[in-house]
Symmetry: C2
Subunit: 356 residues, 2 copies
């Protein structure tokens, strides 16, 4: 099914809580034909979010969006905690009554919402809860036998650009003729790629196992024996709330190499007055944890220089290169080709530690 | 309610999958009046598990157990993955029909099992699913303001004695006149203490938040402003499957100090051919992670020397002391008093890192 999305992000489209919306506009093969946000009604997407290459119109209500003939409504916000803001209920109910598919990335499942479920059944509309997890097994170690090379993006923090880095590197590898797959691990990645598991939604005991299942599935999807899986990381190892999910991916995906992603303007852990570790401390932490089970090195830094002018961006990139000794670039600002070319030769398979 | 337990562990009572059974026998204030395990029928508890100070009889069936007038049946096994072995269904159904409360520590909830739920309702018997998680919020940082001192047991691996160490140190502190509470974080601890949350069962995004709620609740329960909470750790930071839960507790409980727990005979990660890190590497990993958010030091090593003779146990303890420079003892073999006395003066409050 090819979707035509109305992205629903009232009062939020310009801000970072709309990251699901922005990610789908930037990377989904499905078209985003209209956005709902009364705060920006009358403008176009790129007027509000300049880096998004889209002139889709912004309207004030779901009713107004219908003349653009959407097939699906994407709840385009990701508030911390993932609850459905009560003010959204009426508009989402109207979308279901209008026979739109509703694509929901919140922790709160609409299929579990008695009213929404009844509306969907009555009007034969569909609810796709992106975060609904499959039954996951415990981690088995099967990921250690995958022949695809596994590259995981790891962050200095949450919401710094790990998904974007994985998507851009996947494109660059494919462009260079190397079979590559993006492995989605969160709601936005799932909406973009059409498969995947929101690992943050899995029961903690099974989060590593769910991560392992994702790379096994990526390995089945890839068209070659030694292609590359670029796995979207989650959270950050220094984040007191989200680090368990970060670690589930770090161990469960059994990466062969890591890409460190950092938003240059971020200096404290998102939501806390706790300073972020520097590049070298982060690299030491991530590599030290991997060394416990299957060694993996950080082979590059993907910097997000959003908000800086070009001179400041180049200075930040140079500084990261100097401090880490690693290839470093902003994949959105300067494209992923150069960084991919710099690391392509260094992505090998590393074996698990064994007791032999 | 004061329970009289029949512990149900057919074919398993002597092994490590019966750790829930062993923990409740050793530490619960509720009485264990009989055990069901046809493999050991006719013996007594201490004949099979010598370190358990109990002469409760072992019988072959739940029917036979009824003459000891139990009020409750404890499913006394903890298999990896936590599913209910199908062979157990008939006996558990019979227990519900016999109006026994069924206390269940498996991941598989009996309250979600249509047949078991119907039996419980029909016979007015109760099902207590120990692992049923409460709705947990995201981690908030409220744990950073707790006035109780927070001590977390961290392991070299799963199933090495973290709960036992926390229970023994709680007793030792209370014996020394210091207000102390044990904070249960897993199904066995919950069965013993009558409260708590099985953090491994919480949705991964909320596992740190659930851990934080547990120390907040412990702080409310403690009878003094500067008492000590001894939090039961889970898993191990080098375990590819369980480490996310370990990290949720490490960050979410905001510990002021850590106790490293190790089973001397364990050399590889439980279930994997991956060598365990040594003492110093483990201490570096745990302290390094804590340093990201709220610094905490490992202040002692609680060694589990089960299976060694006394001379070998003393040698292992001496070696751990030498390698770590920390107080070290086996709390079961030699009692917790000496180790507690050695560390009591070192348990202070440490502040969270701030950006000031």
């Amino acid at each position: 099914m090819s979707r035509r999305y109305v992205v629903f992000a009232p009062g939020a489209f310009g801000g970072r809580n709309a990251k699901t919306a922005h990610g789908v506009i930037a990377y989904s093969r499905d078209a985003v034909v209209v956005v709902v946000d009364p705060q920006h009604a009358g403008k176009r997407v790129r007027d509000v979010v300049p880096y998004l290459d889209s002139d889709a119109p912004i309207v004030a209500t779901v009713l107004e969006s219908l003349r653009f003939e959407p097939t699906s409504l994407l709840i385009g916000i990701a508030p911390p905690g993932g609850a459905l803001p009560p003010a959204y209920r009426a508009e989402i109910a109207f979308a279901l009554q209008s026979k739109l598919e509703v694509v929901n990335g919140l922790h709160a499942f609409l299929n579990d919402d008695v009213e929404m479920r009844a509306l969907a059944e009555k009007h034969d509309s569909r609810i796709w809860d992106l975060r609904m997890p499959p039954a996951a097994p415990l981690f088995s170690g099967a990921a250690y036998d995958i022949t695809s090379r596994i590259v995981l993006t790891v962050g200095s923090d949450c919401a710094v650009g790990k998904m974007t880095a994985a998507l851009e590197l996947t494109r660059a590898a494919q462009h260079a003729g190397t079979p590559a797959e993006f492995v989605p691990t969160g709601q936005t990645g799932i909406a973009i790629a059409g498969w995947g598991t929101s690992v943050d939604r899995v029961i903690a005991d099974f989060a590593s196992g769910a991560s392992e299942q994702l790379v096994l599935e990526g390995d089945r999807r890839i068209a070659a024996r030694d292609g590359i899986l670029f796995v979207e990381g989650q959270g950050g190892i220094a984040h007191p709330g989200y680090a368990p999910v970060t670690l589930a991916l770090l161990y469960g995906c059994a990466p062969d190499a890591l890409i460190l992603v950092h938003l240059v303007t971020r200096t404290t852990v998102d939501g806390y007055d706790i300073p972020l570790p520097g590049y070298r401390a982060l690299i030491r932490t991530y590599e030290g944890l991997c060394a416990n089970v299957k060694p993996a090195r950080v082979i590059a830094v993907a910097l997000n220089t959003y908000g800086l002018d070009e001179a400041a961006a180049r200075a930040a990139i140079a500084q990261a290169r100097e401090q880490t000794g690693l290839p470093c670039d902003d994949l959105l600002r300067f494209g992923p080709g150069a960084l991919y070319a710099a690391i392509a030769g260094q992505i090998g398979k590393t074996p698990v530690r064994t007791n032999g």
